[in-house]
Symmetry: C2
């Protein structure tokens, strides 16, 4: 059938607000395109942990993993911590357990949204970080060793996951090349000058690159990339990288194009995928209706597109394109969310975007 | 005596050029202030490795470690690699072997040098990253395990080094508070929400903070810091962090204030210190006389200041202040190095700065 089941995990703080706003936009959109989205809301996150002792029950995990896609708000709360001092982050468990190795984080400047850099070319930013999301330093989560005198974590990179990450990145570059009307470029971000594990990663990317002669291929040290994302971000296309590096660089990327409120993401595996804004739960503004829902709405567009790629049909990719265009149009016509100094709260932003759907 | 022995390691590529330019400025400066600097030039780096089989001989290490301070250009060359695929970087060995735990990397906007951000407050950037430089992920250098199917590196944080790093950071904040005429702030940059080792680090900083009630103290996740260094870098003061994080964030910081040509650094331990620009050997412009020597000259000013702190006397700190002021004055009066689109090469920049010394 043309109905798809979406597990919705609003999470904590503004996660619940941006998720509600996104569902309000998806409602009329799916009607117009005749696509059936059946939403099942599930509870997980820091407050769930506080109230029930578990951040995500096995039943919730089972249900989420049986859905066709997962839409997630944001999870975590500074004051609610595990016994080892870390925060509650069941979204990381989803990435690990569902093997969502490709954390896709696209960055582009929306019309009317101020960019951070003085150089006018910053309006041409159009890059995607592909953050490996199941291993790297995050392999060490819950595995760190701490004594009175020292602590250790393990960064792990495997051939299997790296090959998948590389194939995904080259495929994405091919896909984007069509849309951008120029050759795609994959630039691996590593620290191969100092660490063997990154020299290993670089070698695997070079092997997979050989299978994709139509895509340009390079590699960049992560420190140099942090510099170049400030100096000339408009020159990059697809940037695969290790988990921790991707976490850091994707916040940097968001800063360039207006902040976390404009940074959607998709954690994609061979079978499952989670779509969520790259931002956190924002305790300082939670519950006030001020959060910018744009990142979540753009994440939902990525979800529709991904479902289309999985065989859901053309209507899904049409809906995705229309949603993307509606976000652009809303900002082009004056939508100004609070995070960029405007007066539009969560609901107003969702309404402004929904209003651009039916033209 | 008032003579101090400086081991000079020019290294590779533009390292040799910026070092020569710096010595040319230090010459008249030290004469004017009646301070004796005895320079001993030593060979180390990638070309040394290629020609002799060792990147830094034991004799060179001995001599360098017996000097009062070490001035270093830049080391490494992409085509010259160790058997495990990594680059030749004896400057890392110096950091490890001499226990140079505090990698001090200050960032401020020089007059006339364009900053990257559109916000005018970016001209007020005045922050210091203190990159721990002997452990963290870099503990794993030369220790990475690689098989056909996977690779692992170990991130290590010890109580002893973290306590020293914290004390150093709070001391630096106190010192800067006087100069800036406002309370100092130490913001630890970690990833304590996910990793036990960083929760451990955060705990140690909180202990040391209690001994420094005059300094404000906070902590920030590294991804959020990457965002905030783009959104509001003018709000930060002293930013201690783990080795790998500091490597990434310090290139980001350099990007904000004109690039690596404006990023000095000092790797400081209890007994020894190495002063060097944060940039690399720049193979693309090496040998052309185009490199900007400012970062190295500012590193030399940090060296004079550090020697003063070690009892070399007031003349050293006077000379440091004069050198800093001369750099500012030269750029204020029109010096424009090639990296910021100007026409002044290495020698012209050094002359323009030297010309501001004797007013
Ligand atoms: C909240 C946190 C655990 C998470 C991460 O580190 O992956 C977030 O920063 C992200 O980028 O999705
Ligand atoms: C050249 C490289 C080994 C070095 C490092 O990673 O520390 C450099 O990037 C630095 O920041 O000093």
């Amino acid at each position: 059938s043309n109905t798809h089941r979406i597990a919705v995990l609003p999470g904590d703080g503004i996660g619940t607000e941006v998720t509600a706003a996104t569902l309000a936009v998806l409602e009329p959109l799916s009607k117009r395109h005749g696509i059936g989205l059946a939403f099942e809301e599930l509870r997980a996150g820091a407050f769930c942990y506080r109230d029930t002792g578990t951040a995500m029950s096995e039943e919730t995990f089972e249900r989420a993993s049986k859905a066709d896609a997962i839409l997630l708000g944001a999870m975590g709360w500074p004051e609610i911590r595990a016994k080892d001092g870390t925060e509650i982050a069941p979204q990381l468990d989803l990435r690990f357990r569902l093997n969502l190795y490709a954390g896709v984080r696209p960055f582009r400047a929306l019309p009317g949204v101020p960019v951070a850099l003085a150089d006018p070319r910053a309006r041409d930013i159009d890059l995607v970080i592909v953050r490996e999301s199941t291993e790297g330093l995050f392999f060490s989560r819950d595995r760190g060793i701490v004594t009175h005198d020292m602590a250790e974590e393990t960064l792990r990179i495997t051939r299997g996951v790296t090959e998948k990450l590389a194939r995904f990145s080259f495929g994405l570059a091919q896909q984007r090349a069509g849309r951008r009307g120029r050759q795609g470029t994959v630039t691996l971000v590593d620290k191969a000058n100092v660490f063997r594990a990154f020299a290993f990663m670089r070698g695997i990317f070079a092997e997979i690159a050989a299978d994709h002669p139509d895509v340009a291929h390079g590699a960049h040290y992560v420190d140099a990339m942090a510099l170049d994302l400030v100096r000339k971000p408009w020159t990059f296309d697809v940037l695969p990288t290790e988990n921790m590096f991707g976490d850091i660089l994707s916040d940097l990327g968001a800063g360039l194009v207006g902040g976390m409120g404009f940074a959607p993401s998709a954690d994609i595996g061979d079978e499952h995928a989670v779509f969520q804004p790259a931002h956190g739960t924002a305790p300082d503004i939670a519950g006030k209706g001020l959060a910018n829902p744009t990142a979540t709405i753009l994440s939902a567009a990525m979800m529709l597109d991904w479902l289309a790629g999985k065989g859901a049909g053309q209507a899904y990719s049409d809906a995705a394109a229309e949603l993307d265009a509606a976000v652009d149009a809303a900002f082009a016509r004056g939508l100004r969310t609070a995070d960029i100094g405007g007066r539009d709260g969560t609901a107003a932003a969702a309404m402004a975007i929904a209003a651009q759907l039916r033209r």
